[in-house]
Symmetry: C2
Subunit: 138 residues, 2 copies
DNA sequence: AGCATTCCTGACTAATTTAGTCAAGTATGA
DNA sequence: TCATACTTGACTAAATTAGTCAGGAATGCT
């Protein structure tokens, strides 16, 4: 149950973007340096984040990336999902309930994992980029 | 951010143990069959759970495994930690805060991941094997 | 026009982790 | 003594992670 670099880097980069961009777009290399992340890897991540509509790009000189929406409206849960680091606590889901303790149709542990996933999602969905920037984190 | 089979199987097996063992020890193969888990893999997991003191073994005929303590006192968080599936949301921790947004000493995202980890731990620590068996899961 | 800058894309890969299998024991009760 | 069941360690195939690298395309500045 660990958070990979993909999700971690994506959030770090977007927080940096929200924090240091004053209207102007920021270059990948600038962000990568400040956060000490591999630039070429970050480029990859930004590509998918752009396709998902979380950030916008400006090409050429003085170009770079900027948030597609207000920092207040971008939730951490969105970023993780967009980058392909979803919260997966359950494996038996939706259709069939096989591989479970077959006591009463639905498995005993399913509710446990589903509850955990919901808990995590709720937390990450309740926090925006702006919240992280301004250190409003309970 | 996904839960591996190791942690999942361990909890499933201990829930099964708590649910079906009536004082008597249960054989690994029995549990594995009922939960449709690979028996040889489960054996491995049970070995480490025993070393960590969560379960006890009885060898020979009519032998098997049983919970080392009351199901009410064994928390899910314990099982996951014992089996080697800890909750790792942060990477920069304890000693140095390198690799973070260096605005004020501690990084901006650190608090976020720490909060997530705490959230998860709190949830899993608040649930015992008995709770899962009796479907008391909020 | 030309050049530096920056995004953009896809292919590739080394290392680690996961999810097991397999074989050979050892202890115990019937 | 034999079947049952735990016990241990070595091994491995496949998937995932965490990147690198090379080349191309758009844009603004001089």
């Amino acid at each position: 149950m660990k958070l990979g670099t993909k999700g971690r880097y994506a959030v770090m980069a977007l927080v940096d973007l929200a924090y240091y961009s004053k209207g102007k777009p920021l270059a990948v290399t600038e962000i990568a340096q400040r956060q000490s992340l591999p630039a070429s890897y970050l480029e990859q991540l930004f590509a998918t984040l752009r396709h998902k509509g979380l950030i916008a790009s400006t090409r050429g000189h003085q170009g770079g990336y900027s948030l597609a929406r207000e920092a207040e409206t971008i939730r951490i849960s969105e970023i993780l999902e967009a980058i392909g680091e979803p919260i997966e606590t359950t494996r038996c889901s939706k259709t069939s309930d096989t591989g479970c303790v077959g006591t009463k149709g639905t498995c005993l542990t399913h509710a446990l994992w589903a509850g955990l996933g919901q808990q995590m999602h709720q937390y990450l969905n309740g926090i925006s980029l702006a919240d992280v920037c301004e250190r409003r984190l309970t």
